[in-house]
Symmetry: C2
């Protein structure tokens, strides 16, 4: 395996951005191996066999380890190099962290991924017009989740508590993407959420990622 | 908060079963507070305010802590009482575990939840007939995931490696549910997957859960 950290991904992929954000936070040198989704490079037999059995982005390797799935790659890097970004091991802190992580993958990510598909990618891929009923339902579910975050961020500065964690990193790419879904005002209109997003997006690591995309 | 462990849930809820399976594994005494989904008790303002901000099952409390989200509750209990079931903290083991956990919530859970809705719950809730195109797509995605597991379980006995972990527990309720979706043969026809499922379903803890449902 490669002696340097290699990310197989694309700068426009939100899941790749998650991993790049963390690598920039940790100041780990890495090589980004560009995989073109437009040309279907993530679905080639070699990539599926060697890097990601489900043919998705990103995948990761370094001198000792191969990992696929953006959040799993982040857990690996944070455990290895993370200092204060290491995921907690103690029962109560772990449950608070995993509760926030579960809200992200259960309530935040699914409707926003579906909405991006319906409003942008579906047409781009020649798969027809958006399903308006589904668009409406996704928007409703995103609002519900953002309302929860607004309340939560009235008590704590970050989504898993008082400190910046992987959970904030997991959210950043899709929060940034809301502007492309004409939902930017759903952040700016929520005071606590907007303040949180200002704290996150002004981190030099995130600015480095957005400069790449 | 309650001195004993309380699970707010329903024995027929797959997410509740996940938590009950772990409690039975750990031999922790608990009280199951039945919340009727049929009567909408999980959506009442009191339940949403006190137990689960998204109005889902299960939620959990003990003498010190409240947690919602089935997997987060399991992380809490395993970190507190888990012995060999404690989630790993070391980088490589953590990444292997989280990679398997991410496959579960990204590729296994979404299509099976949608399929159960389309084939069973949609009619029960008076929301119309199944969307056949979506049914077909969910079945295809489940097959893809089970094919991956079949390959994985040729190398290791359990989904996150050589030992039984929370990831196996997270899968059990929906694997058992496949028979209700007329997909039981998709387990029995895969040798390694079937052997894994025999190991899991014959655990006394899982048998105790199925006796409750």
């Amino acid at each position: 395996m490669s002696p340097v950290s290699k990310v197989y991904g694309a700068t426009y992929s939100t899941c790749t951005q998650r991993v790049l954000f963390l690598l920039e936070e940790l100041g780990i040198p890495y090589e980004l191996v560009s995989i073109s989704m437009k040309e279907g490079e993530h679905k080639t037999p070699t990539f599926v066999d060697q890097q990601h059995p489900f043919g998705r982005l990103p995948a990761f390797e370094d001198a000792t380890t191969k990992v696929f799935e953006s959040r799993a790659i982040c857990y690996y890097l944070a455990a290895k190099y993370g200092g204060p970004l290491r995921p907690p091991c103690e029962d109560v802190k772990l449950s608070r962290f995993q509760q926030a992580a579960s809200v992200e993958y259960s309530y935040f990510d699914p409707p926003i991924t579906q909405l991006a598909y319906q409003k942008l990618f579906k047409r781009q891929m020649g798969q027809g017009e958006p399903d308006e009923q589904l668009v409406h339902e996704c928007e409703r579910r995103i609002q519900e989740c953002l309302d929860y975050y607004e309340q939560l961020l009235g008590e704590d500065e970050y989504l898993a508590g008082k400190k910046f964690t992987l959970v904030d990193i997991f959210h950043a790419p899709w929060i940034a993407f809301l502007s492309r879904l004409e939902m930017e005002s759903d952040i700016s209109s929520r005071k606590n959420l907007n303040a949180w997003w200002d704290r996150v997006r002004n981190r030099p690591a995130w600015m480095a990622v957005t400069n790449m995309a």
